[in-house]
């Protein structure tokens, strides 16, 4: 055997961490990288994009606990031309609008109707239980007037919850979050708005009181994580136009999660192979069944005629023991091997004889006499008239047999042909379905999708306490999307949408991205999910861009014009919105 003469070091001396530490120098590495020829090409995108992508910051303070190592990019920003600052204009556009801005010109009364009203005695407090099981535990003497005086007597509680993108969109609740200058979008695991009033006057929560909340909701998360990620509690500060971090959410998981499997390409292929094998097995089994269910008739036995070669003899036996010999009414027996039938056998007087079947047409005759016995191979034969009669019967029976067999064979063949046709169609469907699934997977980012896998949905109870009335959110800041295109937005006739508020949602995330439309915006989105985008036109109509539009994009595509379909349908309610804002193509 060839030796490689490796330089094998057995139990070699070890280096300490300190020894290694002294060689470490990231700044030198970075410097080397920036001056190396390879880095110029590999970083050109970064440097050219530096004015359109916010630099990254590590979050500090309270948020850092939940977001160690998380860094984000500003989601949507782009200059149309070098002197144009989209980011600035986008900011100014939304700054000029109410911070909580229901999009569909809903009246105060319309909005008020979305709250559930509940009366309670402010002196005693109480528990309000919402229809979905959420609970508010209100302590005694919890409310004060605007001027700080204690409230006594009956108060009216107004309460509503927001669970999905339609709730968030309809309420006009901003989901952008600024932490130390870094912009995020918050993903919600349930949000509430609670107010109290007496005689039409809004009340405040007393400074030393808190309301304990149990918010029943659900969260989505990649199934392979096994449990939902951590969420925080934020309060909407409408005055300062931002969310304010309050605490870490205490989340209880209720029951088992459920999910819709998102197959990987390997899984689809494996499933396809298994289905193909199963189909082949099904075909083989069905073919066997056809033959079993349509047995061919038994061919009649042709009688043997005695020949002159070997000895023929007769003896009595019970025909009932050998029903196959019924054609041999006058059966005789002929020795098969004449050599066995010696003179001694012929001359001996045998006292008894036994016959047993050896094969289809051969028998074993044992002749017994005193202490001796002799076994001979014999076959049944007919002679003369008996043979002719048996042959006539045989010919008739054979004719009938041939006709029945032919009929049966045709029946079997027809059944088999029908089965094969059915299997062929099933196989074709299987192939088609496989190709379709693979194409769909590939269109949706194939290998990357394998990472995401199924999205699990888990029912939860969020427990937290609120120290003021208003909008409270169970949230987590989201990492950035990787896919980015230079986007333009038009209606189906190609007329551009500019200075409209556009909304975008990712099916796998419970949030709403909001931005101002303009030309050549850098739009970031999750290429591995279904995305839905819409806007409200200047005429107050909803214009939609369905997931299929996003799927037209290739991973290397740099630019795309998103064509929105303007709906003529009148939108009057949240149900109307739900009917049109769905991910179906």
């Amino acid at each position: 055997m060839k030796k490689n003469n490796y330089n094998i070091k057995r139990n070699p001396p070890k280096l300490s961490s300190k020894d290694i530490e002294q060689h470490k120098d990231f700044d030198a590495l970075l410097n080397q990288f920036e001056t190396s020829p390879a880095s110029n090409s590999s970083t050109s995108n970064t440097s050219s994009g530096s004015n359109i992508i916010r630099p990254l910051y590590i979050i500090s303070g309270a948020v850092a606990a939940a977001l160690i190592g998380l860094v984000v990019f500003f989601n949507i920003s782009s200059p149309v031309e070098p002197s144009y600052d989209y980011e600035k204009e986008n900011h100014a556009y939304f700054a000029s609008q109410p911070y909580v801005n229901p999009p569909l010109n809903q009246s105060v009364e319309d909005i008020e109707r979305t709250f559930v009203k509940h009366s309670l005695n402010a002196d005693l407090g109480g528990v309000y239980e919402h229809g979905n099981g959420s609970k508010l535990y209100i302590p005694p003497s919890a409310f004060v007037h605007q001027d700080g005086r204690q409230v006594s007597g009956e108060v009216e509680l107004s309460y509503r919850e927001f669970h999905d993108f339609v709730d968030i969109f309809m309420a006009g609740i901003p989901m952008e979050y600024d932490s130390a200058g870094v912009k995020y979008n918050l993903e919600s695991a349930g949000m509430i708005e609670v107010h109290a009033q007496q005689n039409g006057q809004r009340l405040n929560l007393a400074p030393d009181k808190t309301i304990n909340v149990e918010l029943a909701s659900s969260v989505k998360y990649p199934k392979h994580l096994n449990v939902p990620p951590g969420y925080n509690i934020y309060k909407l500060d409408e005055e300062n136009r931002d969310w304010v971090y309050q605490d870490v959410d205490d989340m209880e998981l209720i029951g088992d999660p459920f999910w819709e499997e998102v197959p990987t390409e390997d899984a689809v292929e494996q499933k396809f192979k298994t289905a193909k094998d199963n189909l082949a097995q099904k075909e083989a089994k069905a073919l066997r069944n056809i033959e079993r269910e349509n047995p061919l008739p038994q061919a009649p036995k042709k009688p043997n005629r005695a020949t002159s070669d070997n000895y023929v003899f007769d003896f009595d036996f019970d025909l009932a023991d050998f029903p196959e010999l019924k054609i041999y009414q006058d059966v005789m027996w002929q020795v098969i091997n004449e050599a066995e039938f010696t003179a001694q056998v012929a001359e001996t007087t045998w006292e008894d004889a036994k016959i047993a079947k050896r094969s289809d047409n051969q028998f074993e005759l044992t002749l017994i006499g005193g202490n001796t016995s002799k076994t001979l191979g014999v076959r049944p034969v007919l002679t003369g008239k008996a043979y002719n009669s048996a042959m006539a019967d045989f010919n008739k029976a054979h004719e009938e047999y041939t006709a029945i067999r032919k009929e049966q064979e045709q029946r079997i063949e027809a059944s088999k042909a029908a089965l094969r046709e059915q299997i062929r169609a099933e196989r074709e469907m299987l192939n088609f379905s496989y190709e379709e699934k693979i194409e769909h997977l590939r269109k949706n980012g194939g290998s990357a999708r394998q990472l995401t896998g199924a999205i699990a949905e888990q029912n939860i109870i969020n427990r937290f306490e609120i120290s003021s009335l208003g909008i409270w959110n169970v949230d987590r800041p989201l990492p950035p999307f990787v896919m980015m295109v230079k986007a333009n937005f038009t209606d189906e006739e190609g007329i551009p949408f500019a200075y409209n508020t556009a909304y975008m949602v990712d099916k796998s995330l419970n949030t709403v991205y909001k931005f101002m439309t303009n030309k050549n915006i850098n739009l970031r989105f999750n290429q591995n999910s279904d995305n839905l985008m819409w806007l409200v036109t200047n005429e107050g109509k909803i214009a939609i861009c369905k997931p299929a539009e996003f799927k037209k994009l290739t991973t290397t595509q740099k630019q795309h014009t998103f064509a929105f379909k303007v709906l003529d349908k009148k939108i009057n309610s949240k149900e109307d919105i739900r009917a049109v804002l769905n991910f179906e193509s």
Partner: protein, 204 residues
């Protein structure tokens, strides 16, 4: 197919036993790290936490194959420079980022020995040899078996030796070994089984 069945059964037994003690990284940790990588893909300065996290690990990996501190430092610098240069091409495949760094390091070490026409260093501890002998279910005098195994290792081709080093001397899971050596996971398992069988023969 009786022979294949036999191999598979043995392989399952071996790999199950071996998997119990291998280093693993949780999926959530890998996904958090993927966010850091994406950040570093956009801004190389953000590579720092990854560099800090893996420098020592990669350095030791190289050192075990060179047994030379300053050479290891040079190769390690090259590894991280190449990692930075190629970072934009990196995509998450469900294995730790370190597996990718090990792959670069493995290539750099191999390149060094090719360029300098020197024999590759193999660092091995006695307990690692003992573990391997246990895995191979070889009975006998331990010291004698260790010597036999060391001798047998010298018969292995470099690719096979690398697999043994990663699996038994560095305790890497098969999934990562597959990523480092650019082979499939099942291929890594089958190869490991076959190499162990070969080593057993060499030891006779």
């Amino acid at each position: 197919m009786p022979a294949i069945s036999k191999i598979n059964r043995s392989l399952v037994k071996t790999s199950l036993r071996m998997d119990d003690k291998k280093k693993t990284v949780s999926t959530s940790a890998m996904e958090k790290e993927w966010l850091e990588i994406q950040a570093a893909q956009q801004n190389p300065a953000r590579f720092r936490p990854l560099y800090e996290r893996y420098y020592e690990e990669i350095f030791r990996f190289i050192y075990r194959r060179t047994s030379n501190e300053s050479l290891s430092a040079d190769i390690c610098s090259q590894v991280f420079l190449k990692a930075l240069q190629q970072l934009k091409k990196y995509s998450y495949k469900g294995v730790p980022f370190s597996a990718w760094l090990y792959r670069i390091a493995s290539n750099e070490v191999a390149q060094h020995f090719r360029n300098h026409k020197k024999n590759r260093v193999v660092s091995v501890e006695d307990y690692q040899l003992s573990d391997m002998i246990d895995e191979m279910e070889e009975d006998g005098d331990k010291e004698q078996l260790r010597n036999l195994l060391l001798n047998a290792l010298d018969n292995l081709k470099l690719n096979d030796l690398q697999l043994i080093e990663l699996r038994f001397f560095e305790q890497r899971p098969f999934k990562e070994i597959a990523e480092i050596l650019n082979i499939t996971e099942s291929n890594a398992k089958v190869k490991t089984y076959r190499i162990l069988e070969r080593l057993k023969k060499y030891m006779k």
